[in-house]
Subunit: 301 residues, 2 copies
């Protein structure tokens, strides 16, 4: 199968109670594609500046993440600076410098235009629509992520994009904000008038999946060391869509299995800064963590 992701590649500076990093590899498309690359090849569409050095390119190239759609423009790469306190559920943005991202117009290379799985990571919904317009054939699954900034500033375009995809990945505060419904079940019902399925990402509480046929609650792994939650949602998406692409199916059972794999990748992601831990996995370790998540919800002696 083929996976296409359009999103950000960034250099992040992050401080948590457990340490800090400066200008480390980050961005939604980065976390997604590294996570998905354990399952299948990934075509990445994003933009970086001239400061994006060879060592960063190598990280992608070593993993068969295709960079033909990665534009390189004059100036600096998108940078995000954030800080977390002991409540690791909430990021405090200190500084966002769009840089190369400011005038980004995603262009799909010809051979990317028939993806079987498409992830529209958190970018301007107008760009998400622009990507959708370039896709030639209907993928097996299109999933979309977003954030509070777009809900506040481009709600109409965002809803237009949601109406064209198969699934929305969203966190609790975002779904409440987008639907103006405090109750999650009511909020989901509103989204499902636009789009057939929703995954609500709840951080350390796991996730909830809703479709017409199934409601599925997946626990998160209780972790003793959470170092940096940045990228957990995109790693979840990468593990989820990567798994679906590997098995080539999107029935309800495989969607649930995909959520387990997404949860596993997210749990590895938060155990270290940047993509450090994500780069040093193998399929067996991922499968072991999936088994651990399954055991969490299993009733047995």
């Amino acid at each position: 199968m083929s996976i296409l992701v359009v999103g950000s590649v960034a250099l992040d500076s992050v401080e948590t109670p457990f340490g800090k990093i400066k200008n480390a590899l980050g961005g939604s498309a980065t976390y997604f594609s590294i996570s998905a690359s354990y399952f299948d090849e990934v075509n990445l569409v994003a933009v970086v500046g001239k400061d994006f050095t060879k060592k960063y390119f190598k990280i992608f190239e070593n993993r068969k993440i295709n960079l033909k759609g990665l534009q390189i423009v004059n100036g600096k790469t998108f940078r995000w600076e954030g800080k977390y306190n002991y409540d690791l559920n909430k990021a405090n943005t200190i500084c966002t410098a769009l840089n190369a991202f400011e005038n980004f117009q995603p262009e799909l290379p010809e051979e990317y235009k028939k993806p079987e799985f498409l992830f529209l990571a958190n970018i301007d919904p107008e760009l998400q629509l622009r990507v959708l317009a370039q896709v030639d054939t209907k993928p097996k699954l299109i999933a979309l992520d977003t954030m509070n900034f777009w809900i506040e500033n481009k709600k109409e375009q965002l809803i237009k994009a949601i109406k064209k995809v198969d699934m929305v990945l969203i966190n609790e505060s975002e779904i409440r904000q987008l639907t103006e419904e405090n109750n999650l079940v009511k909020a989901v019902k509103k989204i499902m008038k636009w789009c057939p399925a929703v995954i609500i990402k709840r951080g350390e509480y796991g996730s909830l999946y809703f479709s017409q046929k199934k409601v599925f609650s997946c626990p998160a792994v209780p972790l003793e060391n959470v170092t940096d939650p940045t990228g957990a949602g995109d790693s979840f998406a990468g593990g989820f869509i990567g798994y679906l692409s590997k098995v080539g199916k999107t029935d309800q059972k495989e969607v649930c299995n995909g959520i387990l794999f997404g949860t596993a990748l997210a749990s590895f992601c938060v155990e270290d800064f940047s993509v450090h831990k994500l780069l040093n996995l193998n399929y067996k370790r991922i499968q072991n963590r999936v088994d651990k998540i399954k055991a969490l919800a299993a009733i047995r002696s």
Copy 2:
């Protein structure tokens, strides 16, 4: 089997965004015993004032909740007044009038001294210790609940009580406060030096059970109408211990099943004010909700 609960019987005044009630039946031992009464007989030890009228007694008597240990003293029944905003996870106490509870000294009637299941609901840890001293034979399971007030004011006695029980039921902020550990896994490890098992109650996120042999994550039911969360934790305990008493076992498998039943009772509790919904259930409806909770965590087409 026989269940003994020692806790509070109260008259609650509660306001939520969905309505309000005044002097309605409440209290930890009330929610617990009504929930547990769907599974087995309950011996209740608590105290009320002269204002506790016949209609309230009838609620217990109609359900084979034995009131021989319910002391009736001069003055008023314990009253609690609270308010919830849209964040139903957090109660704001407006007023607590201990009244009859102020000088409460729990005394177990002779025939209550050999309980097979004992729930020490949220009361002064010194009273919890006093109850434990009156128990003649080792129960199959002793579980203890508490709250921030006792952690702040009687931590030493609380830990002494925890060391004498088999299981602690506690919420996330309480376990963090009690152990002075932000990370839940580390917090659980501390508690498990004192006591072999812990259930962390996480409200709308479900619960996490930890013992040496098993970690179990139980989802909460996504509910469209949550009216009043008061009593959810005690209803959980009542369903949990009620089920274990009914099956007469405390192996890991039945503990997990018990958690499902506790979750079901808690989910009914929050759908109406006071004990209104809890009074109108039957075993089939409870079993149906348990099946729904099981399905939430099940991977299938």
